[in-house]
Amino acid sequence: MLDALKAIIRTVYIFALMGFTLWFGYFLHPVIFGMDGAETEEDIATREIGAFFGEGATEEEKEFMKSIKQQQQTSTTDLGYMVIEEQYVKGHFHHVGMKVESDSSSICTGCHGAVPHDKAKTIRAFLNMHAFYMACETCHVRPEGNEPRYEFRWYDKETGKVVANPPGLNTLDESMYGNYAAKISPGELRRDGTFKFLNGPKELAFVERYLKEESRLNDTQKSKMKKVIHRNVNEDPLICDGCHTIVDEPYLPYTLLGYPQRRLHELTSTEVVGMINKYKEFYIPHLLRGGGVDKDVEAE
């Protein structure tokens, strides 16, 4: 009996001491070894550039790595009662307060990026804003001639599948507008009642395949493939009036997409429309060539 007790005490003592040793080592390690030897941001960047480009990275390649790193950087602001995590943009003053889900099922963003508009100086920021909650096809692909109208549904930015109308549409909290993790996109209702988007997984796979093989194609082939990708991209994309005017049959079926009457009135209010009209005064439409034909190829 006494022996058993002794053994237990001994074992407990030994394990406690072992635990203490490990903890002590763990705790003291940083005190004694401090930070020396730890990599600085700069070291890490240099190492990553080295790993990527080999030894002699050019200035441009270094810049490229830096910009990629900046894209991935997030900033966290701990407010005590909540933590804001958002993309880090150097010198940005107002807080964004959310992480932006990237649209992994769009077939266009792989080449054009998520912020594609740049040419039309007065409205480019608005176009980019709409691309945040609308697929590119919504404005860039329109039924031609007497083709039937498209149907529209929301899709999940991550999975690309049809989802129910976002509940955020009905909130009175204005800071939720536009931030649905879903986008409106055109497509057609099949006979069996299912919905098919104009561009789906099949088209996405085609684009991904093309991007992989691109370096092996010659210019004519590339231009042909781009034509295929852009085959239904209209030269004349939908602009502001297309959606922000009161008509019996609006281009987007707002009610079906879950917009409450109140929002519909706001979107066609004199406030919004008046503002849009001011922008229109200064907006000179560019003639888009569509088709994505490279200039040099076209010149041949």
Binding site: M35, G80, H92, F282
Partner: protein, 340 residues
Amino acid sequence: MASDDESCLMCHKMPGLGRYAKDENQNATKRILYVNEALFKASYHGRLPCKSCHRGVDEIPHTDAEKVDCASDCHIKDPSSNSGFSHRAIVHDLSMSAHGARQAKAGLEDDLPDCKYCHSNKPYQRSDADHRQSMKFLNICLQCHESEEWAERFYKHISYRASIRRSSKQIVELCSQCHADRVMMDNHELDVVVGFNDTFHGKAIRYGDAEVANCLNCHAPYESGFSPHSILSQRQSRSPVSGDNKIETCRQSGCHTGAKEEFATSGKIHPASFTTVQMMRRNTLNRPGDADPETAFQEWVLHMISLFYKTLIIVVVGGLALHQVLDVLAIRRERRARGG
């Protein structure tokens, strides 16, 4: 809705509003024109109309927008004096400090931090991690003041300032973004502050000690009338880290109150990281390569002592661990011999 009588948020509340802006070198930077309404309203500036900072902006499209100038009058009154409020004084302080364009090396002004490098439009922190505790105090205000929104605003206004606004870790991180950047500091002929994390101050900060000195407690102590905006070079005699002022800085606010004169002059505040000899740039005009033999010897001795202790610790702690393992094995064998 004091902040949005101008209905700026009709457009700026929409996420995704933005574009890439290219500079002369075709480098694109992302410009996010979205403003999170909830976070803006909860921020320090939440009660200001957008136009009090964004001057111009009367035209649509905004071809007339002026650059935000923190020294301009923001159309609110300082209740203590009833005069117009602005950050003019701070802008002036900063321009006279080591971080002011006037003091810096010419042509390298872009390296200097401006207001928004160090400040974003942060929402007020609750002074107390325990929200309920805060609410209890707010109820005291509500005994007399009617509007909860008003009382909460001023409650936060004051309680936020009464607590630590940035942890020492955050300060070290902020200053290190530039002062640990070897290339940038070389351009300015300043020593790069990489050894700080090896000092006792640095280590205590890493363990979350809020009492120990961070960069600002030495370089701009509020106690002696400095602020983060009036950091001076050690070569300026008014600087809290120059010559005779040093000892006063060490003695401040209950830190090294009993410190003797030699305390501040013996040893290096920012130690070397053994790879380059530090703290001898502008004041001695030595390059790191040609440190004088005496300093180099000192560094070598320091390095050896450190190496000796590290080895000793590994041997002792490792030996202890090994001893424990062997001990357990011995018990097991003993028991097996007895039982089996």
